[in-house]
């Protein structure tokens, strides 16, 4: 079953021309859950468009509890983006990457790959110098 339409593929292929360095996507799933299967299907098709630069690794949550704990995964499907050095980017997409979340996924992949940051200098300075850990959760709906 194809999750992406031909038009999606074409648009993505164009957007992915801007990719610069590899991005590693780690997907935590529960294989019995329909949402997880859906997420896995979408991601497989996305990385398949640019196999040299996009890498997908899928983990069963139950079988990889330790790794999940290290990444702070509590709900699945959960996508973790790692950069060219395989360092954690701090970005998580929780839920099926469809609709609005799909756009978030694509933008995040591009940001991680290119290392671009759109923050103003002042904000960048503030965030870089944070002395405590913070979690920013944004609740969205796919449509």
């Amino acid at each position: 079953m194809a999750f992406l339409s031909d038009r999606d593929r074409q648009t993505l292929a164009e957007m992915f021309r801007d990719l610069k360095f590899p991005v590693h996507l780690e997907l935590f799933i529960n294989p019995d859950q329909e949402w997880s299967q859906h997420a896995q299907g979408i991601l497989s098709e996305v990385v398949g468009l640019m196999p040299d630069l996009l890498h997908l690794e899928t983990y069963h949550l139950e079988k990889n509890r330790l790794l999940a704990a290290l990444y702070g995964v509590t709900a699945v499907p959960c996508i973790i983006l790692r950069d060219k050095n395989e360092d954690d980017s701090g970005i998580r997409i929780i839920g099926i990457p469809a609709g609005y979340e799909f756009a978030v996924l694509v933008e995040d992949i591009l940001d991680v790959s290119t290392g671009r940051n759109r923050l103003r200098e002042k904000s960048l300075h503030y965030i870089r110098n944070l002395e405590r850990d913070i979690t920013m959760q944004v609740f969205v709906t796919p449509t």
Binding site: S89, R92, I94, G95, I127, D133, M136, F139
Partner: protein, 74 residues
């Protein structure tokens, strides 16, 4: 923001429709809803709507402020 400091900042996008219980816990009645949290001491700040970068930074300052005297001007 996570990319600017991945060691300190975790940025999560959560599909509220799939995680109704979770969304309920965080009182998500409209989206986008942002919940900022920090541990030790456990604190949180939340707000609704698409906000500006400056607003987001102010909310982070509010979250991390221990004095109740956050300088919202800077």
């Amino acid at each position: 923001m996570a990319l600017a400091n991945p060691v300190r900042v975790r940025a999560e996008s959560v599909d509220a429709n799939e995680f109704l219980e979770w969304a309920d816990q965080e009182s998500v009645y409209s989206v986008p809803k942002t919940v900022l949290t920090t541990k030790d001491p456990a604190r949180s700040v939340s707000f609704e709507g698409a906000v500006s970068e400056e607003y987001m930074i102010r909310q982070i300052k509010l979250l991390l402020d221990d004095t109740g005297q956050v300088d919202l001007g800077s």
